[in-house]
């Protein structure tokens, strides 16, 4: 019963998360780079902050995986 709509759906789920993460990380990255340039001691925090929006792509991935696996 799996047709073309399953991979497309999974792709949309993943893409959404990935794009959102990309946008968020680009901004955090820019700001983070600025922060580290001025205050190198805050590098640790910046790395963690940079990782925070990654949640989105992970969730997207999980949803995509679930769509594919569960439909199968």
């Amino acid at each position: 019963m799996t047709g073309w709509e399953v991979p497309i759906g999974a792709a949309i789920a993943f893409a959404g998360g990935a794009i959102a993460t990309g946008i968020a990380q680009s901004k955090i990255g820019a700001a983070g780079a600025g922060t580290v340039a001025e205050r190198p001691e805050s590098a640790g925090i910046v790395i963690v902050l940079e990782a925070i929006p990654e949640t989105l792509v992970i969730l997207g991935f999980v949803v995509a995986a679930m769509i594919i696996i569960m439909v199968e």
């Binding site: 640790g44 963690v48 990782a51 992970i58 999980v62 696996i69």
Partner: protein
């Protein structure tokens, strides 16, 4: 764990102060504090007549100034100075003399080179400017004959004053008795350029007239004026070349000096800065009329040693007073980690974030337990684990000198062990390679076969369960910390949060049918009480925090998700290899993909389990902002 610290006051006779400082310096365990804030019952403690740093400072400024002018030299290429080894052994006075004489010999030459270079740079930009305007005008000039004994004047007129042209022309004609050329054209959107050529004998009259008409004349430096603009351009071009040449000559000269002296200056700078650093500790010492006073924190373990050392050298003349410490003062105590060997590498993370305060719980051991666990759960592959283990061992071996690499690799090494264990549980060895070959199978525990691809839901439950446990642990630590600081409201808030989260979780479970419905009423009551507690402890924000905390717990699902991503990449690698007909190509592709996956597996899981600690876990109890322990002594320099 943090070391227990004692605040001490060391008091000795003033005449011995150099020797006392030496002994303390050798012991290298005292974290200095400003002794001048202490005071004996009646006697104020004044600052020690300390070393005057001005001299060193100004010398350092001179050296730094020269270093700035010089170009850094590759360590391999530079000429080894014959003195450089000697510097380290010099006393301060000798060092000062050497540095001063070196500065004296270099400074003037360098400064004049640098100034010359700066001037040339400025001149170059100026020439570019003039060149730009001349280039704009020169096409116009082509239409005019340039004659000997004639003067060329260029005017710029804004377009809105274009009518002025009509006035100027007849006047110039009259002044010069019609011996003139006059041509105008648009220069750019805003301005019109006018070129007039007339006999030199009318020059002053024409200029006076132009002045009275308020027209801007183009000012070109003397050396380029009164010649055809093309010639001026050629001349400017030649001058630019000459300047570039001279600049490169100067740079070459500076480079020559650099190869000879750069490392000398750097060495002197380092030594003098060290010296300055050392003497800056002196500002912490105090004195009264006859005694010399040092105040500081010392780890309890090191206290007997320092007492003994002082006693051996000075007998009873030097007293070490242990100060009674108020709870509040304890907060200003420096923190010195004291962790078992297996937790020590994880202090790296604490320093990355912020060290804890003295009276806080040091979460390092907890990170040391959970970080590898999370890492292992995410990566969960025997093959990857082994490669990471080998990788970390190799890197550790290669970079023995660099402390932070050592620490990071130790973390990876420790983390690779649970990775292998989880790999065994999940039956993964380079993805499903081993399973495919029939060597290994996912274990079946608690009625679930832990094949990560299939057991998504159980894994999700497991990770959320870990999340619940971790967050509860955090909240409990928060209660402990608050109790230690006697912050009643905080305790109530944290307890309320525990109650609220528990009741909500249990309610969810009961609605799902896993918990008997009969307890629902109690759960609601518990929730109500908890919310009241939360409002008492943290206000409305406390209630909103419930959502945050539940979000935090859900966030642990990433343990499953990232793991899943890594498994699927591994599967893809294997399957590609399988499906490509040519064996060798398939293997190469598989190896490349696995390599990529391992690389990702070293970064992503580390960052995410670190994030789970810093964001989700620490927010429940951790304050941070402690002062790192920096003992006065050898280690410091």
């Amino acid at each position: 764990m943090l070391q227990k610290m004692k605040q001490v006051l060391v008091v000795g006779p003033k005449r011995d102060y150099q020797r006392i400082i030496d002994v303390l310096y050798q012991a290298g365990s005292l974290h200095l504090e400003d002794a001048k804030t202490e005071s004996f019952t009646q006697m104020p403690i004044g600052p020690l007549d300390s070393f005057n740093a001005d001299e060193v400072l100004s010398l350092l400024v001179r050296i730094k100034g020269q270093i700035q002018i010089l170009t850094p030299v590759d360590a391999k290429k530079q000429l080894k100075s014959p003195f450089i080894e000697k510097y380290a052994g010099l006393s301060y006075d000798e060092l000062k003399l050497t540095a001063t004489s070196l500065c004296d010999s270099l400074e003037e030459r360098l400064r004049s080179l640098e100034t010359r270079k700066g001037d040339l740079d400025v001149r170059y930009t100026t020439l570019l400017r003039y060149e730009k305007i001349i280039k704009k005008i020169s096409p116009l000039e082509q239409q005019l004959p340039i004659l000997e004994g004639f003067e060329v004047t260029i005017l710029i007129i804004q377009k809105e004053y274009e009518s002025v042209l009509e006035i100027i022309r007849p006047f110039i004609s009259e002044i010069t008795r019609n011996q003139f050329e006059f041509i105008s054209a648009d220069l750019d959107e805003k301005n019109i350029a006018v070129i007039t050529v007339f006999s030199k004998k009318y020059a002053s009259k024409v200029h006076d007239f132009l002045y009275s008409k308020n027209v801007n004349e183009v000012r070109i430096p003397q050396e380029y004026s009164n010649m055809p603009l093309d010639d001026a351009l050629t001349l400017i071009e030649a001058d630019k070349k000459a300047i570039t040449l001279e600049i490169s000559e100067i740079s070459e000269k500076i480079r020559e000096i650099s190869t000879r002296w750069y490392s000398d200056l750097i060495t002197l700078k380092t030594l003098l800065s060290d010296f300055l650093e050392e003497t800056s500790a002196y500002s912490n010492f105090g004195q009264t009329d006859y005694t010399f006073v040092v105040k500081g924190w010392i780890p309890k373990k090191s206290l007997p040693a320092i007492k003994k050392a002082l006693h051996v050298s000075f007998g009873d003349a030097v007293v070490v007073n242990e100060l009674e410490v108020e709870k509040e003062t304890e907060d200003s105590a420096p923190v010195y980690f004291d962790n078992p060997f297996w937790a020590k590498p994880f202090e790296f993370f604490m320093n990355l974030v912020q060290p804890p305060r003295y009276r806080e719980i040091d979460p390092t051991p907890i990170i040391a337990i959970f970080f590898p666990l999370f890492f292992g759960l995410i990566v969960g592959d025997i093959g990857y684990g082994l490669i990471i283990l080998i990788f970390s061992l190799v890197v550790r071996f290669h970079f023995k000198e660099i402390a932070w690499i050592q620490q990071m690799m130790a973390i990876l090494m420790i983390s690779s062990i649970p990775t292998i264990i989880f790999g065994y549980v999940f039956g993964e060895f380079f993805g499903d390679f081993a399973e495919h070959m029939g060597w290994l199978h996912p274990l079946t525990l608690f009625g679930v076969t832990w094949n990560r691809i299939e057991a998504i839901i159980p894994l999700l439950v497991l990770t959320i369960g870990i999340g619940v446990f971790h967050v509860y642990l955090g909240l409990s630590l928060g209660i402990y910390n608050a109790a230690r600081h006697h912050k009643k409201k905080h305790i109530v808030e944290k307890v309320g949060m525990l109650g609220a989260i528990s009741s909500i979780l249990l309610l969810v479970l009961s609605f799902a049918g896993h918990v008997p419905e009969s307890v629902q009423i109690f759960l609601f009551i518990l929730l109500l009480i908890s919310v009241i507690g939360l409002i008492y402890g943290g206000g409305s924000r406390g209630v909103i925090e419930i959502m945050g905390t539940i979000g935090n717990i859900m966030s642990y699902a990433r343990l499953m998700a990232i793991g899943l991503a890594s498994v699927i990449l591994a599967l893809v690698a294997n399957r590609l290899a399988h499906e490509i007909g040519i064996l060798i190509v398939g293997i190469i592709i598989a190896i490349l993909l696995h390599a990529l996956n391992i690389l990702l597996a070293m970064f992503s899981p580390s960052i995410h389990s670190l994030r789970l600690h810093v964001v989700e876990f620490f927010s429940k109890f951790y304050e941070g902002g402690g002062i790192p322990y920096r003992p006065f002594g050898k280690e410091r320099l």
